[in-house]
């Protein structure tokens, strides 16, 4: 049920997603509290990524994908309403992908890309500040400050992913969606990203899809378990991982299937 509680950054209900005739999400309702990290977990193909991509309408680019449901941003903005421009929505709801995908441009240009498009900076100095600040927040500034004009694809995988996070926060979104942001990274880079998520939640609402149960328990305060397109269980992360209500959830987190 959608209530008008403004403590939620994003509220969804009655969400159905079809790829052609195949159902991917079946009647899901989930609310995401402000400035908290919510994990979406579940076995491969359970629809958690599809659901995540509904939240900034990334599924729009897939022709056969059909999304139905109610999505309210800040309790009052229907993100699928025809009045909403998808670009302004994505300005508020940023996204970080599974594989680091920096543009083949300089490090500076990568971060400055969003602010330039949305006209966020009024001057070159301000733009420089935004880039610097975003890299700072993404914990990358110290590593790249001397080579801002290097091509970003020369960075290591972990650095690239933090650059993508910097790129996402440079347009000052309210929500950051992360689609398995650490699955292509080694443990050290993963630890850095997780630390970063913990810092970022002060200012942003974060929704993260992850395959790693330990990661979900480390970074998130709420966890939602998906299976076969259904939301099986949602609750406090601590509760989901210690005494889940549903047997299915218990089986998954103890590794009996998935």
């Amino acid at each position: 049920m959608v209530d008008q509680n403004s403590n939620y950054a994003l509220q969804t209900s009655e969400v159905y997603v079809h790829y052609g005739k195949k159902m991917a999400i079946n009647n899901v309702a989930l609310n995401f509290p402000k400035n908290e990290v919510t994990s979406l977990i579940g076995p491969s193909g359970c629809g958690k990524s599809t659901f995540l991509r509904c939240l900034n309408r990334m599924n729009d680019v897939i022709d056969i994908c059909n999304v139905k449901g109610k999505f309210l941003l800040n309790g009052n903005v229907d993100i699928y309403s025809p009045d909403i421009q998808v670009e302004t929505l994505r300005e508020k709801v940023g996204m970080v992908f599974q594989k680091p995908n920096p543009f083949p441009k300089t490090i500076y240009e990568n971060v400055a890309y969003g602010p330039k498009i949305h006209g966020i900076a009024s001057s070159q100095n301000e733009l420089d500040e935004i880039v610097k600040d975003s890299l700072h927040r993404a914990g990358l500034y110290e590593e790249v400050k001397d080579r801002m004009d290097d091509i970003a694809t020369g960075l290591s995988g972990g650095q690239q992913q933090r650059l993508c996070i910097a790129r996402a926060i440079a347009i000052r979104p309210e929500i950051i969606l992360m689609d398995e942001p650490c699955s292509a990274l080694d443990p050290i880079a993963t630890a850095k990203i997780e630390d970063l998520i913990n810092e970022l939640k002060e200012n942003y609402t974060i929704i993260i899809v992850t395959h790693s149960m330990s990661q979900a328990s480390r970074v998130s305060s709420k966890t939602a378990f998906f299976h076969l397109g259904n939301l099986v269980e949602y609750g406090e992360t601590g509760k989901i991982f210690t005494k889940p209500d549903k047997e299915q959830t218990n089986d998954y987190i103890t590794g009996r299937f998935g």
Partner: protein, 478 residues
């Protein structure tokens, strides 16, 4: 017969692959030997030992066939004084004999009766030699065929016999293959150098008649002067000064190629963007091959399209607005050429745009960029190297194009940058200098090589420039 034996070599070496492999496998399973290499490699090993010696001998026999012919025909028994003949006389007699041999071969005529005038001109021993020559091909062919059945079989059996578990075939096979691969790439390089040097040497001949500076910096192109001068007073550099001025050809080439690129680059690139980013896959599947047909239309068709439809149309339009347009204009040729090279730009650019990873598009959309911003700021820069490559291919095609210019733009050299006037190109002048009766001691003919060399250097510089640009601006994804 020689070619039939080549087929035999192929078939035999292919079958020896199975024989060698079988032998290796039987060693492994029946005699419990440990093989040093994988069984396939014993097959390859036998194939290589059969194929390469045979093919080398085959080439040797093909190349030296005429030498064997001469040895066979010009025997001292028939021509006792053959050793004292000059090479010219030898050649003449050999020619006569081979002509005779065709008659002798055609019918079993009795050489002693009737009025066979050609035969009467030939001496007794020449006629015998001609008969021998007629037989030679048959003998040579059959002996080859025999050789190429016996030799590979023999080699094959020897090679197969030599297979044992200790024989490590893999490094041997890999070594031979690596030589073959290396050799193939060297052949391409040698041919390039060969073409280059043949151009250089003939061009040097040309520059013996015409001053280097005159050629590159004079603005008058009247190669027919070389004929006039030839008839009256022989060559003299002063007289040829005004005959071979390269500048109008260069400007003509650049003018027509620029017109073509002005057509092809925007149309081709926009087509590519539409096909890759906006068109549905259905439209793309139909439209792309249709556009590619443009490149497959024979240039001569573009030529008369340009000469008969485009040029009169341009002339009418020009006269309508009060511009003097000549019947054969650089514009008509350039437009037709531009249409021809659209697919070079559109098809290649479409492929490279398609090759930009989807993740970059999504990354840009996720930041809230629109489709057009994504294309302009992410996709085109990422695909730039390939797009530049397609432009380069189109330019070299435009510069190398001949037929359209011959038909639509005139053969008269004209120093101008006005596309409404007639102009001619380097390639067109190469053609005109080599058609008709040509003598290779006349600068009118030799100029083709100097022009060819210049064209070669031009495209080389273009290539190097493009590679440098691409390297500098390349945005690597991955």
């Amino acid at each position: 017969m020689l070619y039939l034996s080549l087929v035999f070599v192929f078939i035999l070496s292919y079958s020896f692959y199975f024989y060698g492999k079988k032998r290796a496998l039987s060693l492994k399973f029946k005699k419990n030997e440990n093989l040093s290499s994988l069984p396939d490699y014993y097959g390859y090993y036998v194939v290589l030992l059969v194929f390469f010696p045979a093919i080398i001998i085959w080439f040797f026999l093909l190349i030296f066939k005429s030498n064997f012919q001469e040895m066979f025909v010009m025997s001292p028994v028939l021509f006792p004084d053959v050793a004292t003949w000059s090479s010219g006389k030898f050649g003449l007699i050999m020619n006569k004999i081979s002509n005779l041999s065709m008659i002798v071969n055609l019918s079993e005529i009795d050489l002693t009766v009737g009025d066979k005038s050609i035969l009467k001109m030939a001496s007794e021993s020449e006629i015998i030699a001609a008969k021998n020559l007629a037989n030679f091909d048959k003998i040579y062919g059959w002996s080859n065929l025999t050789l190429f059945i016996i030799l590979p079989v023999l080699l094959g059996f020897l090679a197969t016999k030599s297979i044992s578990g200790k024989l490590n075939a893999q490094p041997i096979v890999e070594k031979i293959i690596s030589y073959v691969i290396k050799g193939s790439s060297y052949i391409a390089i040698f041919i390039t150098f060969g073409i280059f040097f043949s151009l250089v040497f003939e061009a040097i001949n040309f520059f013996r008649y015409v001053n280097f500076m005159d050629f590159f910096f004079n603005t008058a192109w009247n190669p027919n002067r070389a004929f006039v001068i030839n008839a009256s007073e022989g060559f003299d550099q002063e007289a040829l000064k005004e005959a071979f001025g390269f500048v109008p050809l260069l400007t003509g080439t650049l003018l027509i190629a620029s017109v073509a690129m002005l057509v092809a680059v925007p149309l081709g690139l926009l087509t590519a963007i539409y096909l890759a980013e906006y068109a549905s896959s259905k439209v793309r599947d139909i439209a792309k091959p249709i556009i590619e047909i443009l490149a497959g239309i024979p240039t001569v068709v573009y030529g008369f399209f340009a000469a008969l439809s485009l040029a009169p149309f341009i002339k009418d339009v020009g006269e309508g607005v009060g511009l003097p347009v000549s019947a054969e204009s650089a514009l008509a040729a350039g437009l037709a050429m531009g249409v021809m090279i659209i697919p070079f730009v559109s098809s290649l650019s479409d492929d490279v745009i398609k090759a930009v990873p989807q993740s970059l598009r999504e990354g840009s959309y996720a930041i809230g960029a629109t489709k057009s911003e994504t294309i302009k700021k992410v996709i085109l820069p990422a695909a730039l190297a390939g797009i530049m490559g397609s432009f380069l291919l189109a330019i070299s095609r435009a510069i190398g194009e001949t037929m359209i210019v011959v038909m639509a733009a005139s053969l008269r050299a004209n120093l101008t940058f006005n596309p409404l006037e007639p102009a001619t190109t380097i390639t067109t002048q190469i053609v005109t200098s080599l058609i008709g009766d040509v003598e290779f001691d006349n600068p009118k003919t030799l100029v083709a090589f100097a022009l060819g060399l210049t064209l070669f250097v031009m495209t080389l510089i273009l290539n190097i420039a493009a590679i440098t640009i691409v390297k500098k601006y390349r945005e690597k994804y991955e």
